[in-house]
């Protein structure tokens, strides 16, 4: 059996989606900017796709959707784009301690460009400190970027509360959220949540890799990060990835159809999985919140006395594929910042394993996973010089 539980990293493309991608690669292959009928058809379909994505988040118009090569590019366009275009209004930016690595890195770059960056801490469950956020707002604050679901530990962020804080201020502060792990899994209403910009990636919900979009509310000024010829969307030049966009649309349609049932089913599976692990394996700590504050797509445990790279390699030899926050598995030999941010120590990061589900994850797969996990954990604990007590 092979059980893929690293769905936060990427997901498998569904056959129905692949079919659409193939159609737009081999038949409807024109680009929207030709003067001929096949090009005009593609133009109409891209427009319809933008409308579809806009509707899917209750945006007011398809023009608010900018197709990108993924969420990393969307994050870059949002943060670099807003910061550089609004420099004259202020140079202060706020992000959370649980942003995806791309937002972290972009914030570093902006700091080098002269922006001031405040990182809002999170509590032991991975939920941002709203008081801290409110207090760190200055007259020069132009942008707040809070990830929709806390990176690595699965905490659902209080986006609405953030936007309410921002709306209380005397000046306009743009609100961006990286929703790569939320879109097409949860309902999102950008009006209700007060979101101005939002990043999405198709390969997180069984769509193709290399495509995503940025929602940017009308009126938000953005400086492009890439420049190019006259094209479908001036904010993002280059040959339009039509098969990617149409595949992403199909993937989203399928996801939205099953959204409520999937959330419900996964919530139960998640509880079941957490229960089994906690009752059948000793010395485990759940990283991140429990219950409604946690996305049902994520479970994250630290196993004491053993190390995550070894755990995940051993699991993979048994057919179970997961992620770890261990320093030993990182290129920089740094422990995962998310575990540190929620108050964990080096050892807890070291032994952390992230299990991320997709909406097709089954009880059988999780049972198999628990069985293998028990085997691997007890075996590695046998090897370890550190013993309980």
């Amino acid at each position: 059996m092979r059980v893929f539980l690293d769905n936060d990293r990427t997901t498998k493309v569904l056959p129905e989606v692949a079919e659409v991608v193939v159609k737009y690669m081999t038949e409807k292959f024109a680009r929207p900017d030709g003067l001929y009928e096949s090009a005009q058809e593609i133009y109409d379909e891209l427009e319809a796709a933008r409308e579809f994505f806009a509707k899917s988040i209750n945006a007011s118009s398809g023009e608010e959707i900018i197709f990108t090569s993924g969420a990393t590019e969307a994050n870059n366009l949002a943060l670099l784009g807003v910061a550089r275009a609004n420099k004259s209004k202020g140079n202060h930016i706020i992000i959370s301690a649980l942003e995806h690595g791309s937002v972290m890195k972009i914030a570093d770059v902006l700091q080098k460009e002269g922006f001031e960056v405040t990182v809002v801490p999170v509590d032991h469950e991975g939920i941002i400190d709203l008081d801290f956020l409110e207090k760190s707002i200055k007259p020069t604050t132009i942008l707040v970027s809070i990830i929709a679901i806390g990176h690595f530990v699965g905490s659902i962020m209080p986006l609405k509360e953030v936007s309410q804080i921002l709306k209380r201020q005397d000046h306009r502060i743009y609100f961006h959220t990286d929703a790569a792990e939320m879109y097409a899994k949860f309902p999102i209403d950008v009006q209700e949540l007060g979101i101005d910009l939002m990043s999405v990636s198709a390969h997180k919900f069984h769509g193709p890799k290399g495509v995503g979009f940025l929602y940017a509310r009308k009126g938000v000024r953005l400086q492009p990060i890439m420049f190019g010829a006259e094209s479908y969307d001036k904010r993002r030049p280059g040959g339009e990835n039509v098969p990617g966009v149409m595949g992403m649309k199909k993937a989203a349609e399928l996801a939205f159809e099953e959204m409520d049932q999937s959330l419900q089913r996964l919530r139960e599976l998640q509880e079941y999985f957490i229960n089994r692990v906690e009752s059948e394996i000793e010395y485990v700590v759940l990283n991140g919140p429990r219950g409604e504050k946690r996305t049902p797509y994520n479970v994250n445990f630290s196993f004491s006395f053993i190390e995550g790279e070894a755990i995940s390699l051993a699991l993979s030899l048994e057919g179970v594929e997961v992620a770890t926050g261990s320093a030993c598995a990182s290129e920089t030999l740094e422990p995962n910042y998310a575990i540190l941010a929620i108050g964990g120590d080096h050892e807890r990061a070291h032994g952390s394993i992230r299990f991320t589900f997709n909406r097709f994850t089954t009880k059988e797969e999780l049972d198999y996973t628990v069985d293998k996990l028990k085997k691997v954990v007890s075996w590695l604990r046998q090897i370890s010089p550190i013993k309980p007590g």
Partner: protein
């Protein structure tokens, strides 16, 4: 990306000389806080020869595999021979390691050397 050789994986899956040794002549533990890895080596020494060796490891797969290989290499060696072992020898015997994992092989050799040192100190004290 971490790419381990077949031999590394084999030593990870079936570590040789793994476990505690209750009647060891000497025991040493080394660990670097920076990376959070840790290793314990147990030696049984007769006539300046390592007649038995065991290890325990808290660390990554490379940590476990290099410890395992180290024990295999030095078992039966004289102390003088064992002192000459370097982390490079271990890496070579494993058919290579990702560069970022060299420090794990270092730890294996360091722990061995520390054990030998302890043993020699204990001899001197006698």
């Amino acid at each position: 990306m971490l790419k381990y050789t077949e031999l590394v994986l084999d030593h990870f899956k079936n570590p040789r000389n793994m476990g505690r040794m209750e009647d060891a002549d000497v025991t040493a533990t080394e660990g670097s806080i920076a990376c959070g890895d840790m290793m314990t080596v147990y030696l049984k020494i007769e006539n300046d020869r390592i007649v038995d060796i065991k290890f325990e490891s808290y660390g990554c797969a490379a940590n476990i595999a290099t410890a395992s290989m180290m024990t295999e290499v030095v078992k039966g060696m004289t102390i003088e021979e064992a002192k000459k072992i370097t982390w490079k020898d271990i890496v070579e015997r494993l058919g290579g390691l990702p560069q970022i994992k060299y420090h794990c092989s270092n730890l294996a050799v360091d722990t061995l050397k520390k054990a030998i040192e302890e043993y020699e100190k204990s001899l001197a004290r006698k």
